[in-house]
């Protein structure tokens, strides 16, 4: 019984949450429209959480993803406002993400600063840089090309499913694409397997010929890229960019990975488990909003559920 709770507690909890909202909101919750809506709402968090999983596999984490998302969004908007084409803005944002991530990785892997301290520092740096280049203002209106903001508002028509007015949002598709890429990368390539090995035992991996330093740095770069992608998605969705819009992402992303880790026997992060974590947070948010629960109460609840999930997976766990 206890081991069942430990193993499947998170999944059982997820189902309980869905059943709860289903009964409380019989007309609006379990509808195709709402499902698609949730998928779009969580797509940015999902991308950040999936790529956060990459560094967490090595036992590291990245606190700077939120401010990196803001910075990347602002960077794209600045490029747009100078009348460059859409792809230039996207390239600039992704480049900012990759360089910022490499910098994080360099600090952690080559200088040897603890990830917590290094990315706490860069969190502040990226955030400051976002304010600096944007002048502290929200960039919107004519500066954001409609081709860019249109992306987040459209999707693939679901006519063929008989769901006439509904679209599968492009943002959702993008998140699924990132999920598949990260899954293949982590579980089905030597690259990802080596990251897991580093997480298992850094020194042993190094002595077994794994190029630990460069791998660790590259993983941070990928997390930075993911954060920048999320920043672009956010900017597209709200057709504007401001230097604080990504700030909520970091804690939720880490919480999602932790929720996912409670589902694996050995407590390892897996990207599909992270997806469940993201879904739990997204469904909670959606359902509680619909029930018009106060947003402060919502925060207390979400935090409590994360703690509960991690606690239930640790009950009676034997130390190896």
């Amino acid at each position: 019984m206890l081991s069942l709770v430990r193993r499947f507690g998170t999944l059982i909890g997820f189902c309980a949450i869905i059943v709860f909202f289903w009964t409380q909101l019989p007309d609006t919750f379990m509808t195709p429209r709402n499902m698609l809506n949730i998928s779009q709402q969580i797509s940015m968090l999902a991308v950040v959480a999936f790529t956060m999983t990459i560094v967490m596999v090595m036992g590291d984490f990245d606190l700077s993803v939120g401010s990196m998302a803001s910075l990347a969004g602002v960077a794209a908007a600045i490029v747009f406002s100078h009348d460059y084409p859409v792809y230039a803005g996207i390239a600039a944002a992704l480049a900012v993400g990759a360089v910022g991530g490499l910098f994080n990785g360099f600090l952690v892997s080559y200088i040897g600063i603890l990830p917590f301290v290094a990315t706490l520092g860069t969190l502040t740096m990226f955030s400051g840089a976002a304010f600096l280049v944007s002048g502290g203002k929200t960039i919107f209106g004519r500066d954001i090309p409609s081709g860019f903001s249109g992306f987040a508002r459209s999707g693939i028509s679901l006519e063929w499913l008989g769901l006439q007015p509904l679209h599968l949002p492009y943002l959702t598709i993008l998140a699924i694409a990132v999920l598949v890429l990260v899954w293949i990368g982590l579980e089905h390539t030597p690259y990802g397997r080596r990251l897991y090995a580093i997480g298992g035992n850094y020194e042993a991996a190094r002595l077994a010929g794994v190029k630990v330093r460069i791998l660790r740095m590259s993983a941070f770069a990928l997390t930075g890229l993911g954060a920048a992608t999320a920043g672009l998605m956010y900017a597209s969705r709200v057709a504007s960019a401001n230097p604080t819009q990504g700030s909520g992402l970091m804690l939720d992303a880490i919480a999602a990975v932790f929720l996912g880790m409670t589902m694996s026997e050995e407590g390892e992060p897996r990207v599909f488990a992270t997806l469940v974590g993201v879904l739990i947070l997204g469904v909670l948010d959606n359902g509680l909003t619909q029930m018009s629960v106060d947003s402060y109460v919502r925060e207390v609840l979400v935090g409590a559920i994360v703690v509960l999930a991690v606690a239930s997976s640790s009950i009676g766990k034997q130390r190896a």
């Binding site: 293949i184 089905h188 390539t189 030597p190 397997r193 080596r194 897991y196 090995a197 298992g200 035992n201 020194e203 042993a204 991996a205 190094r206 002595l207 077994a208 010929g209 794994v210 190029k211 050995e266 407590g267 390892e268 190896a320």
Partner: protein
């Protein structure tokens, strides 16, 4: 007089029984050996005694009355003290802190730690071991492994007076010690015995057991096979009882002499930690590296692994003028390494046997250039597991579930993934039982016959002499001598460490 009596101890993990109705009886003031192959259940029994593993069934009698054993607190109350195979010290704390850690620190005004008394207490504990060369203010990490062991033993001596120590459980205490340090430990054990305490001594080293133990209990497959007086048994009988078959405690014979071809030559090689290396190796030769503890043996291996940068000297190796610049380069050049501390440097304990075994060979076992192939990895690991005679449940099993010897075999399986050109073995049989040892010896011999050159360190001198063609003697991190093993005796070799 019987002090402790354990009966009907059963512990199952899933379908496999680690202990199956095992028993153990220890008299007051005796040194009792517990022997058995890896996986025989010794470690599990120790964990049961320590209260960290809850057995499915168990009855414990102390001084003839039944007592509970429900957790580490009970173990402490009964006066059990544990000295583990892998030292659990806190390296960056001082010696004194490591010794008094388990108790309340002496206080001044009820708040501040009274450091003078802490050090006094620690010194007193060390003095009981007749140790006066360890400064209690030093960081424990700076001590040699042998001294760390003494610190660990001292820590068990400063037990709270409410529950005086009555049984010392020593799990492979000599694995990391030099001969000299072992002798010191044996003197300490003798002292503990005189004071009326009992010692449960777990070791794979037959000589030690014969030398210091009064009785021996032998486990096989989780069952008690027999308990006998050491004086009334023999090595051969013990090994037979452990393995259930008669193996001689010897080394497989060399099939033929190594080839003439020179595989590697170093001249006046100096690195940060070792110097004066000057030797050449023939293809297929097995070179031993010996010396007192921490005289630079491991560093010789590290130089070939690319983990110890050469500062000067000439190298001719695999047709190149250089040693590998990093372990990743070494593995590419088919240099395989079995590290000294398998838990710290060897294994990802929570990861599976497959993941551990294929790690350096992931790229070769992939499908296409990008993807890895679980199917190929499993097939590869399955074949190698058979070659190293790994005992396991399933290939996806995490390594912490394996016994020490089988964990070591996983590390070997990794090294043998591609037939290595150079095999670097740092204490390859440390904490490994007789049967597994013999398997490892046989493997090294096979590899040597197939053309792999081997450099190995070991503190087990008969093993070095039995396995190696030549032995490089290190003293104070310098090459002292290089000798042929033909006709060499352990005593003569030992002498070279000191002369």
């Amino acid at each position: 007089m019987t002090f402790l009596k354990l009966d009907h101890v059963t512990k199952r993990y899933g379908a496999a029984a680690a202990l199956d109705n095992a028993s153990l009886e220890i008299a007051a003031g005796e040194v009792h050996a517990l022997m058995g192959e890896n996986g025989a259940g010794k470690s599990t029994l120790i964990k049961v005694l320590a209260g960290v593993v809850k057995p499915d069934n168990c009855s414990l009698n102390i001084d003839g009355s039944k007592v509970p054993l429900d957790g580490p607190d009970d173990a402490a109350r009964h006066g059990f003290r544990f000295i583990h195979q892998e030292l659990n010290i806190v390296p960056h704390l001082s010696v004194a802190e490591n010794i008094v850690m388990a108790q309340a620190y002496p206080r001044r005004f009820g708040v501040a730690v009274d450091w003078r008394r802490v050090h006094k207490k620690a010194r007193a504990a060390l003095e009981r071991l007749d140790v006066d060369h360890i400064d209690t203010r030093r960081k424990t990490a700076r001590l040699s492994t042998g001294d760390q062991m003494l610190v660990k033993i001292a820590a068990t001596l400063v037990s709270s007076d409410a529950h005086p120590a009555r049984l010392y459980v020593m799990d492979e205490p000599t694995a990391a010690l030099t001969g000299q340090e072992c002798d010191k430990l044996f003197a300490v054990i003798e002292g503990l015995k005189q004071s009326g305490a009992s010692v449960l001594f777990v070791s794979h080293r037959m000589n030690e057991v014969m030398q210091i133990c009064d009785r021996v209990t032998i486990y096989r497959d989780g069952r008690t096979i027999e308990t006998t007086k050491i004086a009334e048994t023999s090595r051969e009988r013990i090994i037979e009882a452990m393995t259930g078959r008669a193996i001689r405690d010897t080394y497989p014979a060399r099939a033929h002499a190594p080839a003439k071809e020179i595989f590697c030559a170093v001249e006046k090689l100096r690195t940060k930690h070792v110097s004066g290396l000057e030797f050449s190796l023939k293809r297929g030769e097995i070179l031993g590296v010996a010396g007192l503890a921490e005289s630079g043996q491991s560093e010789v291996l590290h130089a070939f692994l690319g983990d110890e940068k050469p500062l000067s000297g000439k190298v001719e190796f695999q047709g190149k003028q250089s040693l590998p610049s990093a372990p990743s380069v070494a593995w590419k050049r088919r240099i395989a390494y079995v590290p000294r501390e398998r838990r710290r440097e060897g294994l990802m304990l929570r990861r599976s046997i497959v993941d551990n075994a294929v790690l350096p060979h992931l790229a070769q076992l992939g499908s296409g250039r990008i993807f890895s192939s679980r199917r190929k990895e499993r097939a590869h690991t399955g074949a190698i597991a058979e070659r190293v005679r790994l005992k396991f449940g399933r290939l996806g099993q995490p390594c912490y579930q394996l016994s020490g010897g089988n964990q070591q075999k996983v590390v070997f399986a990794r090294a043998l993934g591609k037939t290595p050109e150079l095999l670097l073995l740092d204490e390859p049989t440390r904490g490994v039982d007789v049967g597994a040892k013999f398997d490892i010896y046989t493997l090294v011999r096979e590899l040597s016959t197939a053309g792999s050159t081997t450099i190995m360190t070991s503190s087990d001198l008969p093993e070095l002499i039995g396995m190696c063609d030549r032995i490089l003697v290190m003293r104070d991190h310098r090459q002292h001598a290089i000798v042929e093993t033909d006709g060499l005796t352990p005593a003569r070799l030992l002498q070279m460490f000191y002369e």
